[in-house]
Symmetry: C2
Subunit: 276 residues, 2 copies
């Protein structure tokens, strides 16, 4: 599982406060803690950096990026709803630090996003997160999401972006208002895995539990089912020990961890099951 | 999910001690606590009673059964590796308490077990747990386990035992020595569900994590995957709040809990997410 570590995001209240107060230690601390976990995961991952501020977004992101680079070489995910800010963030890391790896987070079928992002991504080897929505919003059916997906893949191909650089966020919506559980999103995942086995299936795990009590429980159960359906990349909190433990356990249960060596190793490293 | 509550089992050290000391309060206390959880589960369940003593097993079981009956009307699972003790326990509950519902736990293809148990079960409406092993031991392949299953089903049919009274334990083995994760047992479950949709798929959840650290994490991930493959009955600890929460969450994720009402109800009843 590729871990996209989510703690450095201005929309999280404590992180938003740290950003507003330019609390450099907060940023460095969470960058380091998350990187330590990612180091213990075979598939690796990215430290997501999302300023989530209304003004001077790129300036704020730059301040965060420099702090993250002070403490870790872990690849970074430049995260903004504004595709142009992602381009700026990516180019900043390429130019100042020579980062050859990273995640462009994100693009979608909305407006000119593909045509802004893909020409820049065509020149490097960064990964890219693609959300399955377009100008009509988030499609309600699996068939329509698959259509957005196929459009995105055609565009990516046109720009020569290899399949294994692409992470698809099928846009998991909250369970509490769903009528069929996660059947629709599993259908989308199954289609992707079957037709493009090298494409990563990703998503923000915690969206599923919005408005429900005991959210971590729902996130855990969702993660197991999504991994079973092909999810191999996820935006999540790597400091959530139970969630990380469940990811390692699921890899073993799905037959991808011979004799549970990865599971046992991660336990010994303290990635899960140790602290309380 | 049908809950077969596992805490009253002499092979659990604290319970074994309580049995040896004839500590009636221990038995009553765990019977009541487990029954309270089962009451909050739509599919219901059974309080398992397993003496696990070398001598006078039925006498010990009887002492336990009377204590359980003092505090709850929840159906009981009479549990012994000795099929004749199960028969005695079942008949005791039928005669003394008029129990029309309960679980005979268990039979298998070993020796004359089917022919001892099924004629008695033919006369009542109790459920029965069937383990997929025979005189050759626990089969190593899915094909051989399915063969044992088909033999058991033929025997059950011969005695007129309805499919919906049957719980199949496909015999989950420890993950730490498995080469394909749970692929083999999922294959067995899928066969059963496809060909006999009314038969319950069951099993002892915690066997999967034997010899691994942080066992509860593995048990949780296994439970989600097994439910996805059709498991709708399980021997487990209903006082394990995280496990119970994950079961309710998985039902919702699999589309069986409209608007998460069961999940939210169970949370409000304190079945999970409340106590620490």
């Amino acid at each position: 599982m590729i871990i996209i570590a989510e703690k450095l995001n201005g929309s999280i209240p404590s992180c938003g406060k740290a950003i507003a107060e330019r609390d450099a230690n907060y940023i460095r601390d969470f960058a380091k803690k998350q990187a330590d976990v990612i180091d213990g995961v075979e598939a690796g991952g990215f430290i997501d950096v999302c300023a989530s501020v209304k003004e001077n977004e790129f300036e704020t992101m730059k301040w965060m990026l420099d702090l993250v680079k002070e403490v870790t070489d872990c690849p970074i995910s430049v995260d903004s709803p504004d595709v142009r800010v992602c381009v700026q963030g990516m180019q900043y890391l390429e130019e100042k630090y020579g980062d050859k790896k990273g995640l462009f987070n994100s693009v979608s079928g909305e407006g000119d996003k593909f045509d802004v992002a893909f020409p820049v991504l065509a020149k490097n080897n960064w990964d890219v997160m693609i959300l399955l929505c377009d100008d009509t919003g988030i499609p309600k059916t699996a068939a329509k999401r698959i259509e957005v997906f196929e459009t995105a893949m055609a565009k990516a191909k046109q720009y020569g972006i290899a399949e294994n650089r692409i992470h698809i966020d099928p846009l998991v919506e909250m369970l509490c208002t769903s009528e069929d559980g996660i059947a629709m999103v599993v259908e989308v995942m199954t289609h992707i895995k079957k037709n493009y086995p090298k494409v990563h299936i990703s998503g923000a795990v915690s969206n599923i539990s919005f408005n429900l009590p005991a959210r971590k429980i729902v996130n855990i159960a969702f993660t197991v089912l999504a991994m079973n359906a092909g999810m191999d990349s996820a935006v999540l909190d790597p400091l959530n020990q139970d969630l990380m433990g469940v990811i390692f356990a699921t890899e073993a249960l799905l037959g991808r961890d011979d004799m549970c060596m990865e599971y046992i190793g991660a336990y010994r490293q303290g990635i899960f099951g140790q602290k309380k």
